[in-house]
């Protein structure tokens, strides 16, 4: 009995391996295209062995106009919005986590409700509103909007992380006359470093990849982040240089992949998202 069970398990493991490898092969094809094409002097639309390896595609795109300005714009846009999100979320999470009030629950439910609203749906009215109040085509307007859309999830996550820091330490500080702000900055935040890290990285990655918000709210080409400017490979530059498009895609995607790896390493996979969405 034990033997058949063991041999059945081996068969099953092999079957599972085979199944996973089939899916992996299907999933890897588009990824293989972008890597191979970026190094291929004659890239087209299919996955193929490159006709020789070249860095010419990278040479061609690593100019201020094509790559550096859009990436800098992305960095300013997403960096400022992330900073704003994280600061607001830390401040908001503190009373929600520390003081009991009968408004906490409705507030948190509203926040949770807002995390799952389809932001795409409100972009047309946001555009109209931004035209009315003269925020259209401004970096700061877009930053505020970005921060507001990420804030519900950031507050929710931050509050859950903050709940994990024991209260006793702070209460000692209060008796010693420390203010709330002091105990937040000196005691709570240092103890929830990884949590703040997750919220920061998550917000940044979401904004870095977001196309629709800057596409709608920014108009001047000079201000466009990489998520929007990448479309120029199809429009303005005549024939599509697929090798260059692939090279640009790699350069643009690398930061978020690195950030993901960094966070996943520290927190054991899945962005801690499996846990985060379940509360």
């Amino acid at each position: 009995m034990a033997l058949t069970l063991a041999s059945r398990r081996t068969t099953r493991r092999l079957a599972a391996d085979a199944g996973l490898l089939v899916v992996a092969a299907a999933f890897v094809l588009p990824l293989a295209w972008v890597v191979l094409s970026a190094l291929d002097p004659h890239a087209n639309l299919r996955v193929k062995a490159p006709d020789g390896l070249t860095l010419a595609n990278f040479d061609a795109i690593l100019t201020p106009e094509i790559t550096f300005t859009p990436l800098l714009n992305s960095l300013i846009l997403c960096g400022s919005a992330t900073l704003l999100t994280v600061v607001c979320a830390v401040l908001a999470a503190y009373p929600l986590s520390r003081f009991h009030s009968r408004f906490n629950r409705p507030f948190l439910l509203t926040i949770l409700f807002a995390t799952s609203l389809p932001i795409t749906a409100i972009m047309v009215p946001v555009y109209a509103l931004f035209v009315q109040v003269d925020l259209i085509d401004t970096m700061h307007g877009t930053i505020f909007f970005f921060a507001a859309t990420q804030l519900p999830f950031a507050i929710w996550l931050m509050k859950n992380f903050m709940d994990g820091v024991p209260r006793e330490l702070e209460e000692a500080a209060w008796t010693d006359g420390a203010s709330s702000l002091q105990s937040l900055v000196r005691i709570v935040l240092p103890l929830m470093g990884p949590g703040v890290g997750v919220v920061t990285v998550f917000s940044f990655v979401m904004m870095w990849g977001n196309f629709f918000v800057p596409f709608m709210l920014l108009l001047t080409p000079d201000q466009m982040p990489a998520s929007v400017s990448i479309n120029d490979f199809f429009g303005n530059r005549g024939m599509v240089a697929y090798g260059q498009l692939a090279a640009f895609s790699l350069v643009y995607s690398t930061p978020v992949i690195l950030l993901y790896v960094l966070v996943a390493r520290r927190l054991g996979g899945g962005f801690a998202l499996g846990g985060a969405v379940k509360g």
């Binding site: 069970l5 493991r13 599972a16 199944g19 996973l20 899916v23 992996a24 999933f27 890897v28 094809l29 588009p30 990824l31 639309l45 299919r46 607001c88 908001a92 009373p95 929600l96 520390r98 009030s101 009968r102 409705p106 948190l108 439910l109 509203t110 409700f113 799952s116 609203l117 389809p118 932001i119 749906a121 409100i122 047309v124 009215p125 946001v126 109209a128 509103l129 505020f144 921060a147 507001a148 859309t149 519900p152 203010s179 709330s180 937040l184 990849g209 196309f211 596409f215 998520s227 990448i230 479309n231 697929y242 895609s249 995607s253 978020v256 992949i257 899945g270 962005f271 499996g274 969405v277």
Partner: protein, 306 residues
């Protein structure tokens, strides 16, 4: 205990709420202000504005003052074939890519990973998650290249001596649905992996010794034990899929001839190509309502945990 949260004015808390330890009430509420102001101005504000514009005939240019048209935009929508087409395509897109594709494939991957050897598990997980972490537009380009007539899919079909076709032209909604499966499956996989890891080993092993086959174990033991995760995952996938714009925009622009034009793309076209902001917003409001419904169901699923 209802899940519908009233928008509580936090600053009006009575002074004698809870004389707990720690700082007094104004100081407690103060740190919430930046977040609340930002949310009111840039999230609640636009939503309120959305409700208002949806009942007007606001246009992009050349109009002195918009006027109130009541339910005009909505009656117009339900008589508009392009709108009904977009509703239908959104349904197809959501059912195919989210409910069937991401959800089932994610569960299958998570289940297989429980049994697979570690190197294979790591490799597959890495590839699937990379597809998810990539920016939306990049994912769009990769799958555009994959499905184009001269792309990889047809190369493989040629090699297998199967008929090739121009997928983005003949079956655009199928192509973008597959694209969304490619991009979104990792999320389901992660949620289900976490859920399956929480099932005690003894239970599945006991069933195995009792001679319950794989499918029976899945149906009678595994699925009932992770039903909460299934609910959560379905909700979040659906909400995510309802708001996909960039992926479809990059791959097909909603075309050809509106055959992959889901509601977000329809809304965009009405508002900007046809300059009908009021009409586009009415469609947006409908989308927002559907999203809110799903959101409320999601809240109910989480209810016990807040």
């Amino acid at each position: 205990m209802t899940a519908t949260a009233p928008h509580a004015p936090l600053t009006k808390a009575p002074q004698n709420a809870h004389p707990a330890r720690g700082p007094r009430l104004p100081v407690r509420v103060l740190p919430l202000t930046p977040a609340v102001v930002l949310l009111l101005l840039f999230l609640a504000g636009p939503i309120a504005y959305c409700v208002y514009i949806a009942f007007t005939d606001l246009q992009l240019t050349g109009q002195a003052q918009e006027s109130f048209v009541g339910l005009g935009n909505f009656t117009r929508a339900f008589g508009d074939e392009a709108f009904l087409n977009a509703v239908w395509l959104t349904l197809v897109f959501t059912v195919l890519s989210s409910l069937i594709g991401q959800n089932t494939l994610g569960l299958a991957l998570a289940a297989l990973m429980q049994r697979a050897s570690k190197p294979v598990r790591t490799l597959t997980g890495g590839i699937v998650v990379t597809a998810w972490v990539l920016p939306e537009v990049v994912a769009g380009f990769l799958l555009y290249a994959f499905f184009r007539r001269e792309g990889t899919l047809n190369a493989i079909l040629d090699w297998l001596h199967l008929p090739a076709q121009n997928w983005l032209f003949t079956l655009p909604i199928l192509a973008v649905s597959f694209a969304n499966v490619w991009r979104g499956t990792a999320f389901s996989m992660l949620v289900y992996s976490a859920a399956l890891n929480e099932i005690p080993k003894e239970i599945t092993e006991a069933a195995e010794v009792d001679g319950a086959g794989g499918w029976r174990r899945l149906w009678h033991i595994t699925l009932p034990m992770i039903r909460r995760s299934i609910g959560t995952n379905l909700m979040l996938n659906t909400l995510q899929t309802l708001s996909v714009f960039g992926l479809i925009w990059v791959m097909t622009r909603g075309g050809p001839g509106g055959r992959s034009q889901t509601l977000p793309l329809f809304m965009y076209e009405q508002a900007f190509q046809n300059s009908l902001i009021g009409y586009g917003t009415a469609v947006a409001l409908l989308l927002l309502l559907v999203g809110s419904l799903f959101s409320l169901v999601y809240l109910r699923l989480l209810r016990t945990e807040v």
